[in-house]
């Protein structure tokens, strides 16, 4: 079978983020869903806390800012 790259990391993370309302802090997000697991590639899963680890910004006024902070840090 053809090997296909896994594209669903942001999709799955966004589903985990369903209960997050803004403004929110990184700490609040970790407290709420930090332990939840997200498949990030074909063979790897990470917790939300691990995914957020490289994000320098600590608080987010809206979802757009959170995702910008995240994608700019990966």
């Amino acid at each position: 079978m053809e090997e296909r790259p896994f594209k669903g990391m942001i999709h799955l993370l966004h589903k985990r983020m369903n209960g997050i309302t803004y403004p929110a802090t990184k700490q609040e997000i970790i407290e709420q869903i930090g332990a939840e697991r997200v498949k990030v590639d074909a063979v790897t899963e990470m917790t939300v806390q691990e995914i957020l680890e490289p994000v320098k910004m600590e608080q987010y006024e809206c979802a757009a800012q959170f995702y910008c902070a995240l994608l700019g840090s990966l």
Binding site: T21, V55, A64, F66, S73
Partner: protein, 322 residues
């Protein structure tokens, strides 16, 4: 109602329903208070009709210069004040029907011979809650004094209402100012006329989309007595995607009606990942490695730097100084 963007919209949205009616007609070009009273009678009839046709209406919107129209001359005999009996009659009708209203008048100014083109928001108790002076009069024909700011007022059912008037909507700055001030519904009474039917649709759609906001644009409709212009009506209510929810007839008197959900706009501005213009326009490049989550502001937009810089050949500057 909302096409959204590539991301799903997370979270639970709580919102009330704002029922809005627009009444389009052709106010006669008033050159006397008798003419003003004729227009008043027309508008009061529309308000009564709206209460019968659309039970539960929260807000009704009338066209620009709803009691005065725009006659070529003699208009100075029909200027009003906010204390005028015709304005009071509209406020009393709002109270009677427990319906908010947006009405635009040509008002006498304290400056002799001057006037403003002013929209008012009247609440369901008949109190004027908000006024807005048109910031971009339709120069050179319209000689009203320009306003200085576009503030926003709380309306019914969670609405945060920004008022702009007619030609204001041809300039993106005014829409944006209302949105930056928190408007989730921008109301635009107009006297928009041929040949600008295409511009009418484009500007309303763009205002809604660029600012992620509901737009209620109510136009004069028909060739009015003692007016030169051919106002085409086509009043429209638009959603935050720039989609037209409903549209009135072309050149005929009619009413349009839509249910809006202002809380959705507030939710989108917090929860939307893409199509979040009120965040992204002054956080440019916010997903770049350098600016992760911060981005750059509006300081680099050259179009706003012209007020104190030379224009074109350098022979003219915008302050009129050589």
């Amino acid at each position: 109602m909302d096409r959204g963007n590539v991301f799903s919209l997370n979270g639970k949205i709580e919102t009330e329903c704002l029922s809005v009616v627009g009444a389009q007609y052709a106010p006669i070009g008033a050159v006397s208070m008798t003419d003003v009273d004729r227009n008043l009678n027309t508008l009061l009839n529309f308000m009564d009709r709206a209460s019968g046709a659309f039970p539960g209406t929260d807000l009704i919107v009338a066209p620009e210069a709803c009691l005065q129209g725009f006659p070529q001359s003699g208009w100075e005999n029909a200027l009003l004040t906010l204390e005028a009996q015709q304005v009071k009659a509209l406020c009393e009708k709002c109270a009677e029907l427990e319906m908010w209203g947006v009405f635009a008048f040509l008002l006498k100014s304290e400056l002799p011979g001057a006037f403003t083109n002013t929209a008012v928001l009247v609440d369901d108790k008949g109190k004027i809650r908000h006024t807005y002076d048109k910031m971009n009069p339709w120069i050179p024909f319209e000689t009203s004094l320009p306003g200085e700011s576009c503030t926003v007022c709380d309306g019914p059912k969670g609405a945060k209402i920004g008022l702009i008037i007619c030609a204001d909507g041809d300039y993106p700055e005014i829409w944006r100012e209302a949105a930056v001030n928190g408007a989730n519904v921008i109301i635009r009474p107009t006297h928009y006329m041929d040949p600008w039917q295409n511009a009418w649709e484009i500007t309303n759609k763009a205002g809604a989309y660029f600012n992620q906001v509901y737009v209620v644009a109510v136009n004069a409709s028909g060739t009015a007595e003692n007016e030169n212009y051919s106002c085409f009506g086509r009043s429209m209510i638009l959603g935050p995607d720039g989609n037209i929810i409903c549209e009135g007839g072309n050149g005929v008197p009619s009413m349009i009606k839509a249910n809006l959900y202002p809380g959705i706009i507030d939710a989108m501005r917090k929860q939307a990942v893409h199509s979040a213009p009120m965040y992204s326009y002054d956080h440019r490049g916010a997903s770049s490695r350098k600016y992760a989550g911060t981005g750059r502001g509006t300081e680099d937009y050259r179009s706003y730097a012209g007020t104190d810089q030379e224009v074109g050949s350098g022979q003219i500057d915008t302050k009129g100084e050589q």
